[in-house]
Symmetry: none
Subunit: 195 residues, 4 copies
DNA sequence: AATGAATGAGGGTTCATTCAT
DNA sequence: GATGAATGAACCCTCATTCAT
């Protein structure tokens, strides 16, 4: 399994930094190779092409992210607690990996439609996780029973994604995690039965 | 004023079509020039560079959009009605201009950070409009008085933007305007005092 | 018509020299451009791609060659005289253009099958010219009436081509034109009725 | 002697197949190694470099070919019979080894000048064989005594080589051996005293 | 002897922009 | 103002060869 070899990780890590620093279009493969301490050609023993590096980064990071969130919310008993945890962890995750935040929120969106479709496939798993929380909340009557799951999830994801993007574009100057509970509260209100 | 000369409009209109048809990365200046019926060099008499065309497109279209929305919500007396109108018009706007929807939601996001900053400056006016509605709602006590305006606006914009993007990426197959009232309702709930 | 513009000729001439000096695979487009005194990109205003330069060279040179031979043999009354003239002119042609001889006999043959098929299409005209002489000779009874035209032409072309190639590979050291009459005589004998 | 070890043969055989199937430019060393069932590095225990594989192939195959022809013409008493036999066997040889025909007539000619010089050195032995037949024919007075041996040999080789190349380029669709006697007859006529 | 992971040099082509007319 | 021919910088990927094991 190539993914467990040390050079695979080296290249992934180098790529995140190089892309965050130079932007997607100026992240030459040769720059990534130099940063990873391998030859240019070595990249192609581990990745099909430059696009494949990007997809793999997203897969790796997103995989860990979802795993971490899944672990955390498993211990929560209500949908509201779960949603609140998800929002908190989402902000905390990016807050701790600022390079990675730039790559996710800005650089990966500059890719072509082909690539973005693949990225969306990977994102799918995260969106499904949100869907599950919403469905559970509907059944628990924590949320409105007539909630449209797709639209609800788009509100949840759209909101937190917009906040992170805005934070990244403003140079990550303020403490994004401080907003967690306010945002979670607004979202929960949005999904709950009318007052 | 260059903006009132006929060639300016010709080039803008040609650019929107060429970008929507070919995607951002294949929208060469020469293609836009040919479609506009002018020489390549003529473009540079009206625009500083290629980026400037994109920014100008966004400015033009966004300006009209904001004007239209402003006119409509001026007649509404409550913040809730205003917000609901904004959501409705946002969806209706893109629903009626599918080329433009592709350009805004997908193609323009493939531009570099520099350009995206300028796009955000233009977007600013729209975001300010949302802010005003929220502030009004807070004063009216339609919304929670302790609402964080920035976060509230990010929820509103993030939600509707995510819905439109998702609709575009899925090939604009379903009728997006049908969701207006559900989405508006969820957002209003999110901003309102707890039940 | 691009072919009549001065830069077209400049590039063609530069390409012949650069290919003859460096070999097909080491004739970088940038080298050709520099030799022609134009920018790299200018090449692509006149030629579709690198292959197209090669094909165009062959077309140009071969066209002139066939024209010259056609003019000369038009004045001859017998097939034998015509064939003799063709052999003489073939040798004389390459003898006077040593760079071009290297390109034709060695470099162009290193191209891929795709390209060689296109080269053969252009060569076709020359082969047809030989065919016509052979057919005329059969009708005149200068040559055997039962002659297989294709095989006869392959003998004629194969022979002179092999002689030129060998001369080029040996560094064009001896005077190739001195062999014209001997070769022509052998070929005529080969095509004539048995003694 | 490395040539007698089993892996040497394995690699040679694999190389012929790989080149015939993929063409010269796509016949990577790694593909040859895989087909031969050895590691990439092992190739370099038996061959100096990639070129050396090609030269060795040609040497091996050509050696067998010349041996076979030599054996056959040893039994013929006249130069004309010998030449006729050579033509027949040349066509029959390629007719029976269509992969090898592609490699010899098309793929090997795509190699660089350096390599082609070495190939010509190996071919030399075959050309010498033709020379000997011509010299014998001159002494026997079967052929013209004043014949230029080099030119005569170039006619013989050029003719049969052109016919085989043409047959290969046309996809080896017709039966090339059917032409043997016609071609041999034309060549003998070309070399014989005038009628 | 055999392996195969690692190396790293090398080049065709696009397209935003300029400037002489 | 308008033209459009000319410019030239910029980069991903392949694959023959090596060498530590």
């Amino acid at each position: 399994m190539k993914k467990n070899k040390p050079k695979y990780k080296q290249i992934i890590d180098a790529a995140v930094m190089v892309i965050a620093e130079n932007g997607y279009h100026h992240a030459q493969v040769s720059k990534i190779a130099k940063r990873a301490g391998v030859a240019d050609g070595t990249i192609y023993l581990y990745f099909k092409n430059k696009e494949d590096i990007l997809i793999s980064i997203f897969e790796e990071k997103m995989g860990l992210f979802i795993e971490k969130i899944n672990g955390e919310i498993a211990g929560k008993s209500t949908a509201i607690e779960k949603l609140t945890t998800l929002v908190e962890m989402h902000f905390k995750h990016f807050s701790g990996e600022q390079h990675w935040a730039v790559v996710t929120q800005l650089e990966l969106r500059q890719s072509n439609q082909e690539l973005r479709k693949k990225i969306n496939e990977i994102l799918r798993e995260y969106l499904d996780l949100i869907d599950l929380i919403i469905i559970e909340g509907k059944q628990n009557q924590e949320f409105k029973p007539e909630l449209d799951v797709r639209l609800a999830r788009q509100m949840v994801f759209g909101t937190i994604d917009e906040i992170v993007t805005s934070w990244v574009m403003k140079g990550q100057k303020f403490n994004i995690t401080a907003n967690s509970s306010i945002v979670a509260h607004m979202l929960v209100n949005g999904l709950s039965a009318d007052g």
